[in-house]
């Protein structure tokens, strides 16, 4: 039977078990939207306020479910509005398929109305992209896009479909959903060397990256740590891979990492990096990074090995399968001296804990921890609030922390929280700041329209806190363009969008409002007023190493 290109597209999405897409209609996708109308019982379309919000929502959906998030936008500005969202997904290895319309093939290259070369624009921020110039290739292109998005190291793929391809007719044969490429463990030679290094180590430290989450390897990391008596830390992207309460888990390491985790990494004699990429934020000054450590690096992406840090032993393979091999082959060890040393770092960390009664970031997050359950998703924007959330939020399961790590996208949070809530079917809490929230708050309209139970907690300090912190510490308190001093009334703003809004200045009040919000089924905004000079600590100064760690606010 001959079907139109847009019908083939939607049927192929259904074939891939897609049941929700995020997007925004427009002239060059009007045919696709007409087909979505026909198939509304099979695919739910979530209309956002802006294409960027749709891209972040598809990203949030993918992060919590592990499935491919799908976003649709029209040509021109619709497509370019996806760019930040696609780049965010690319830097954090999130599986996503972005579908854009374009002008008809005969109009391509003539600067037609709303024409943009989106495959050219997104080339460096996608795993791959496609311009579909023949309807006969459409279904297989969509299937290939899903295969690429899911296989090996996940990532975003874009498909650009000109309007005449959407209306052209072709045969369609349904197929089974694409399965990702087969996974494989690292090569035996490398494994043997890794086993030897692990058996010889006295002070092993496992460094979890986001690959532990996307590779579903949390249990294997715990088992390897148990057998080798290792301690565990994580990069920002690895947050939620290991339960916060796990006895071997020291928390996030790096620029704003936990003191104990960063110190243990610095003093380890063996670092086993799993699905991580030694980002500058995770390592600090690379020349001074873990000076006495040998490094085993396990990653599905061979290009990551030796890219940022030269390693002793690189293992290219699926992290879950490779860890399984290592667990089977390494000797069981005890390292009491190492554990004692690490216990000392933990003690030292405790001494720097902030213990103030007031409404401050630590107390707000502690209250969130008390009110949420193990399934609640925590999403964030980018800045100080994001680091506080990464440092202090408790997680019991992977895929419960949704945040832009690699790209550091302010404005990511609300769209992502909406997508994460839809994907997980559980409550979502967005921890954000007044700066970040100001970037994409238009998605409040989406949350209200679709009755999304997302609780938005704004840590309002009236400044762009992270930049201010740098200005305080390294730029002679020159607060250049970081004092917002805006007159925005977030309570009225929430109400104007049709949501409930509260302003809290006392912890008891916040606790009450948060519990009530989590008990309901509608979006609620809670603004928490905090001091403008709160800092994210500890901090490794840019380019610094563990010797330069700042643990206290100057003057405290």
């Amino acid at each position: 039977m001959k079907l139109s290109g847009s019908e083939i597209l939607i049927r192929t999405l259904i074939e891939q078990n897609v049941d929700v897409v995020f997007g925004y209609p427009g002239g060059q996708v009007i045919n696709i939207y007409d087909t979505l109308y026909e198939h509304q019982n099979e695919i739910k379309h979530i209309l956002t306020a802006h294409e960027q919000g749709a891209a972040h929502a598809a990203d949030g959906y993918a992060r919590v479910t592990g499935k491919v998030g799908v976003v649709i936008a029209t040509s021109g500005p619709g497509a370019t509005n996806l760019v930040t969202g696609i780049a965010t997904a690319y830097l954090d290895s999130v599986p996503m398929v972005a579908i854009t319309g374009n002008v008809s093939c005969s109009l391509i290259g003539r600067d037609s109305f709303q024409e943009v070369d989106i495959t050219g624009i997104t080339m460096p921020i996608t795993k791959h992209n496609f311009f579909v110039n023949r309807v006969s290739k459409l279904a297989d292109t969509v299937r290939e896009a899903f295969r690429l998005a899911m296989s090996d190291r996940p990532g975003p793929v874009l498909i650009d479909i000109p309007k005449d391809i959407q209306t052209a007719l072709w045969d369609y044969e349904p197929q089974d959903a694409i399965v990702p490429d087969e996974k494989y463990a690292a090569h035996d030679d490398g494994l043997a060397e890794a086993v030897r290094l692990i058996n010889e180590a006295e002070k092993p430290y496992i460094y979890c990256g986001g690959g532990v989450i996307s590779g579903d390897a949390s249990e294997e990391v715990k088992a390897l740590a148990e057998k080798t008596d290792s301690v565990i830390g994580c990069s920002f992207m690895g947050v939620s891979a290991i339960p916060t309460a796990h006895e071997r888990f020291l928390g996030m390491q790096g620029m704003h990492g936990h003191y104990a985790s960063s110190m243990a990494q610095h003093h380890a004699d063996l670092i086993i990096a799993v699905g991580a990429r030694f980002s500058d934020r995770a390592t600090g000054n690379k020349a001074k990074y873990a000076p006495n450590a040998k490094i085993i690096h396990i990653d599905i992406d061979n290009a990551e090995i030796d890219k940022n840090i030269p390693v002793t032993c690189g293992l290219c393979g699926d992290v879950k399968l490779t860890l399984g091999e290592l667990i089977a082959q390494v000797e069981k060890k005890q390292h009491p001296a190492w554990q004692k040393e690490v216990a000392g770092y933990r003690e030292e960390e405790k001494r720097h804990e902030v213990k103030r009664e007031s409404m401050n970031p630590q107390n707000v997050i502690a209250c969130i921890n008390r009110c949420k359950d193990a399934d609640t998703v925590i999403a964030t924007d980018v800045g100080q609030h994001q680091m506080w959330a990464a440092q202090y939020c408790d997680f019991a399961k992977p895929r419960k922390f949704v945040s832009s790590g690699g790209l550091g996208t302010m404005g990511f949070g609300l769209g992502a929280a909406i997508g994460a809530q839809i994907g997980s079917g559980k409550k979502a809490i967005l921890v954000t700041g007044d700066g970040s929230f100001g970037m994409c708050l238009n998605e409040l309209a989406t949350a209200v329209s679709y009755h999304i139970p997302v609780v938005i907690v704004i840590l309002n300090n009236g400044v762009l806190g992270m930049v201010r912190q740098w200005q305080t510490l390294f730029f002679n308190q020159h607060y250049s363009n970081t004092v917002l001093d805006r007159k925005t009334d977030f309570v009225k703003l929430a109400e104007a969008f049709g949501a409930k809004g509260y302003r809290c200045t006392e912890m008891a009040d916040f606790s009450e409002k948060l519990q009530a919000a989590l008990a309901g089924n509608e979006p609620v905004l809670i603004e928490c007023l905090i001091d403008k000079d709160e800092m994210v600590l500890p901090m490794l100064p840019p380019g610094g190493s563990m010797d330069d760690i700042i643990v206290e606010r100057p003057g405290d």
Partner: protein, 167 residues
């Protein structure tokens, strides 16, 4: 810093050259020369990239290329084990006073005069880059009007081929 040559077998799609070149650009790898053309199998094109770097850079370039869905195979062409050529067209001033000198240089380097006019002549020369560089150096004194270099093409010696590697 060493000079390296890699042959990259890619799917013969539009935009592939752009993807490959763009990867070099965005990751800060310098390309010395790049040539591209269809292979004996029209499904594939062959891109020959020459670059300067070290082993670490070469490994990273190959790993990054390997990840690209359009890249089918990569082969390093080592100097001792490959034939390497570059073709250059050089237009120089034709001056009676130099005529004999020009002829001798062309002869010694086994180059060819492919266009001859009273005021200018065009020489074609093929060879390894070092030979080409030496030739250009020698003809400088005659007054070079313009040069067009193809960039390096290379094949491994022996019976092997890049396509046979994947079949």
């Amino acid at each position: 810093m060493e000079k390296y040559i890699i042959a990259v077998l890619v799917k013969n799609h539009f935009g592939v050259l752009n993807r490959v070149a763009s990867m070099f650009r965005r990751r800060g790898f310098n390309i010395d020369t790049l040539t591209v053309g269809e292979t004996e199998d029209p499904e594939y094109s062959r891109i020959t990239v020459a670059f300067t770097g070290d082993d670490k850079i070469k490994t990273q370039i190959c790993s990054q290329l390997n990840k690209m869905p359009d890249v089918v195979h990569i082969k390093e062409l080592e100097k001792g084990d490959s034939v390497i050529r570059e073709l250059v067209l050089i237009k120089i001033n034709n001056n009676k006073a130099f005529k004999q000198d020009i002829m001798s240089v062309v002869d010694i380097f086994r180059a060819k005069i492919i266009d001859y006019g009273t005021s200018a002549l065009t020489i074609e020369i093929t060879g390894e880059s070092s030979k080409i560089d030496a030739f250009i150096d020698l003809v400088k004194e005659f007054g070079i009007i313009e040069i067009c270099r193809t960039g390096i093409v290379a094949l491994q010696r022996g019976t092997g081929s890049i396509l046979s590697d994947i079949k």
